[in-house]
């Protein structure tokens, strides 16, 4: 785990798998995202990212759509490097 290598999820190109490291969200929303399977340590597949507009993610068997603003507040690490 090296925070220097983290980047916002919104910057990850389509087709890449990454590890979710940090979720910057207010109270309540954190729990909500966790209930959807988005919490640190989870592997996330970026199914679609057009660099603006919403991002489509593959998380544990489901597809989630995330607003662009939300994707900017989630920090990830390249999944190939370390599990």
């Amino acid at each position: 785990m090296n925070p220097a290598l983290w980047m916002p999820l919104s910057m990850v190109p389509t087709g890449r798998s990454v590890l979710l490291r940090r979720v910057q969200a207010g109270h309540g929303l954190t729990s909500r995202l966790a209930a959807l399977g988005l919490l640190p340590g989870v592997r996330v597949h970026v199914c679609r990212n057009d660099r603006s507009g919403p991002v489509v993610l593959g998380v544990a068997g489901s597809r989630l759509m995330l607003g662009h603003g939300m994707a900017q507040k989630m920090y990830v690490e390249d999944g190939e490097a370390e599990v």
């Binding site: 729990s31 966790a34 640190p40 919403p54 544990a60 068997g61 597809r63 759509m65 939300m70």
Partner: protein, 690 residues
């Protein structure tokens, strides 16, 4: 002996819960609202052996936090109503996330039965379950089901009845949250138990865990500032030691427990749940093709709504016409009976005017139900998100606004899909600006009266565009003033595409249409009678000789309450270029926009008028300038939506405040915009005509 039990159905959205509910209860369903909130409460009945089961379909949720109304409603139902058993419907092909809700239900200490739904799909996709082992690890019976085929339902009800009748409180699996969290739980609990008495161990632990999770609902119930201080201290300590919020760690431990259980009892050979859906999505939300497909589907929806809907509308019109004539026939010809007029013009005419839209509404809801059940609606929200984001709303608001072109009533009802109240109110309040179908007759009357053929289509287009632009501007303004707040983070599941079942689609359609009918029978009936009275009383006693029947009718209308209000309004609406006749017609238009045309026909004594009426157009042309014609359209576009819209806004927002705000705000906006257009137009000499 017959027994009765209450069974609650819980589960994630898209887990097939509703299909299972429909299979269990069939048509024995009842839809209402939970008190105080606009969350639908669906109940049904079914019999299983000697047991009568009352099935409550809780709203679909991902967890039991206090994040959305649905979650609070589901949780409060379980806590307050104490159902005998909770059946948690689980999408077996997406096990871990679905079990997250199950674990939270177990933490509440309610008797839970797990329905592993779509188990056939899960198996065919390479998932193998050791149900016996999983059941003992999770401490709850598990029954595999296939909702749309109805398999496993008997076994599920067997298990549910058995659990409900055993009467013992289940022992939920103890989830160990780790040393630091457990220490915090212990500390807060000791402090809490000094002040509050709990029914048992489970309730006490649950309350403490919720406090540590920052649950706003539970926190509200605990008054003591001491406790809150203690909770904050413990949270700060946890964050310092573990580097993450308590909320996050607790969620993480729950998942840890789930994946521990799954690792032992589930074997997955391949992950394929989404491959087919993904392939469809490659086309459906394609960067280039996505939008044309979306627009094409929307066109299809409107085509279906308005083309297929026309013949049944004519039948209904015929039926009400026949009904009116039959009732009128009870009195001798030429009778001036007030009762007759009330029955024929007020009640039958008024309610008929609303029921006539039922085919449209049914078809529109049918189309929406198909789009929703198939999973397309989520994709539409995806594609519209970028556009809607610019006005401070998100993708989900788009569908209701689009529906508004047909009719504001179903559009406002469709805002139910929006979770956030600010988004929902904003969308609801601006929907009437999207020009609905009932306003079309007004434009169809006025445009040809004042404008040459070449101008007609652009003029109609302009009116619609003005509506759209105003809706966007108003949404933006509302979102940055009254409903200020950070743009709500947009997270939504894209469910796999599924073939909708006929039964499910028809039930969805009927739920909505039933609400519409109920409204037509109650409040609209009442308001129709009031408007009828306003345009009928007081009666003109003396008949002036030499007047044609039409002129007589016009004189009578002028003397009624509505006519008098029209006269009284004249000084106010004069700056808009309107006279008392237009004012009177506008009052009628409050019942339903298209009534404006008929009312204008009466005040200009041309008899029965519709939007094709040439004598009425000649009268308009003789009395008003094109600028006034344009101003009429503008005012009718923006001003007070019809009474049915106001009533629905009241019902959906759960307060008269917002309904009246909508009424007043839009009328004021209409006044200001029309005033500016008329005054500037007059000053510049545009459209004054010859």
């Amino acid at each position: 002996m017959k027994k009765r039990i209450t069974m609650a159905l819980a589960g994630n959205p898209n887990s097939g819960k509703t299909t299972l509910f429909n299979s269990m209860t069939g048509s024995r369903q009842h839809v209402g609202n939970y008190p105080g909130v606009t969350v639908e409460k669906k109940e049904g009945r079914c019999r299983h052996g000697e047991t009568e089961i009352n099935v409550v379909d809780l709203p679909g949720t991902y967890s039991l936090t206090a994040y959305s109304i649905e979650e609070v409603v589901a949780r409060n139902f379980i806590i307050d109503e104490k159902p005998d058993v909770v059946v948690d419907v689980i999408d077996a092909s997406n096990l871990e996330r679905n079990l997250y809700l199950a674990v939270q239900l177990m933490e509440l200490g309610v008797p839970v039965v797990l329905a592993f739904n779509m188990s056939d799909v899960a198996r065919s996709r390479g998932l193998e379950f050791d149900l016996e082992m999983l059941s003992s690890l999770l401490g709850a019976p598990i029954v595999p089901t296939v909702g749309h085929k109805g398999t496993g339902i008997e076994e599920l009800l067997d298990a549910a009845v058995r659990v409900a009748e055993s009467g013992t409180r289940p022992k939920p699996p103890e989830i160990h949250y780790g040393k630091d969290i457990e220490k915090a739980i212990g500390a807060v609990r000791r402090r809490l138990e000094e002040q509050v008495k709990f029914a048992d161990d489970i309730e006490a632990r649950w309350t403490v865990v919720k406090l540590l999770e920052n649950d706003s609902e539970v926190a509200k119930r605990i008054q003591s500032p001491e406790i809150h201080k203690e909770v904050e201290d413990e949270q700060a300590r946890i964050e310092k030691v573990l580097g993450d919020s308590a909320e996050m760690i607790i969620a993480d431990r729950r998942y840890g427990f789930i994946s521990g259980a799954c690792q032992e009892a589930v074997r997955s050979t391949v992950e394929t749940r989404h491959t087919r859906s993904d392939r469809v999505d490659e086309i459906v939300i394609h960067r280039v093709w996505g939008l044309p497909i979306f627009l094409g589907l929307m066109y299809l929806v409107f085509w279906l709504t308005f083309t297929v809907g026309t013949p049944p509308m004519e039948w209904i019109e015929g039926l009400f016409g026949w009904l009116g004539e039959t009732v009128a026939g009870w009195w001798p010809a030429g009778s001036e009976s007030v009762l007759r007029s009330l029955l024929v013009d007020g009640i039958i005419g008024g309610v008929g005017g609303v029921i006539i839209f039922l085919p449209n509404i049914l078809l529109l809801f049918l189309a929406i139900a198909i789009l929703e059940d198939s999973g397309y609606m989520a994709r539409a929200a995806f594609m519209m998100d970028r556009l809607m984001h610019k006005i401070g709303l998100h993708g989900k608001s788009f569908i209701p606004m689009l529906t508004g072109f047909g009719c504001s009533i179903p559009a406002i009802m469709a805002t139910r899909t929006l979770e956030n109240r600010r988004d929902r109110l904003t969308t609801m309040l601006v929907i009437p600006l999207v020009s609905c179908g009932a306003r079309l007759p007004i434009y169809a009357l006025i445009i040809p009266a004042f404008f040459p053929a070449a101008w007609r289509a652009p003029m109609l287009w302009t009116i619609y565009v003005i509506g759209i632009v105003l809706a966007i501007v108003c949404a933006k303004i509302l979102r940055s003033t009254l409903f200020k707040g950070e743009s709500v983070p947009f997270v939504m599941e894209l469910p796999p595409y599924r073939l909708p079942t006929l039964k499910g689609v028809l039930i969805h359609m009927w739920e909505r249409a039933g609400l519409y009918l109920k409204k037509a029978g109650t409040i609209i009936l009442g308001v129709s009678v009031i408007l009828w009275a306003m345009t009928s009383f007081p009666k003109t006693e003396t008949t002036e000789a030499g007047l044609s029947p039409e002129a007589q009718q016009a004189a009578e209308l002028s003397n009624t309450v509505a006519g008098r209000i029209g006269h009284a309004m004249e000084p106010v609406i004069k700056p808009l270029g309107f006279d008392w006749r237009i004012g009177t017609a506008m009052i009628g238009a409050f019942a339903a926009k298209e009534v404006f045309v008929a009312q204008m026909g009466i005040v200009y004594s041309v008899g029965e008028a519709d939007e094709e009426s040439e004598p009425l157009r000649d009268q308009l042309k003789a009395n008003y300038s094109p600028l006034v014609g344009f101003c009429i359209m503008l005012f009718m576009l923006i001003s007070a939506p019809c009474m049915a819209t106001i009533v629905v806004t009241k019902r959906e927002s759960n307060s008269w405040k917002w309904a009246l705000f909508q009424l007043g705000g839009l009328t004021l906006l209409a006044y200001v915009v029309t005033l500016i257009v008329y005054q500037v137009g007059s000053a510049l000499g545009i459209g004054l005509g010859g």
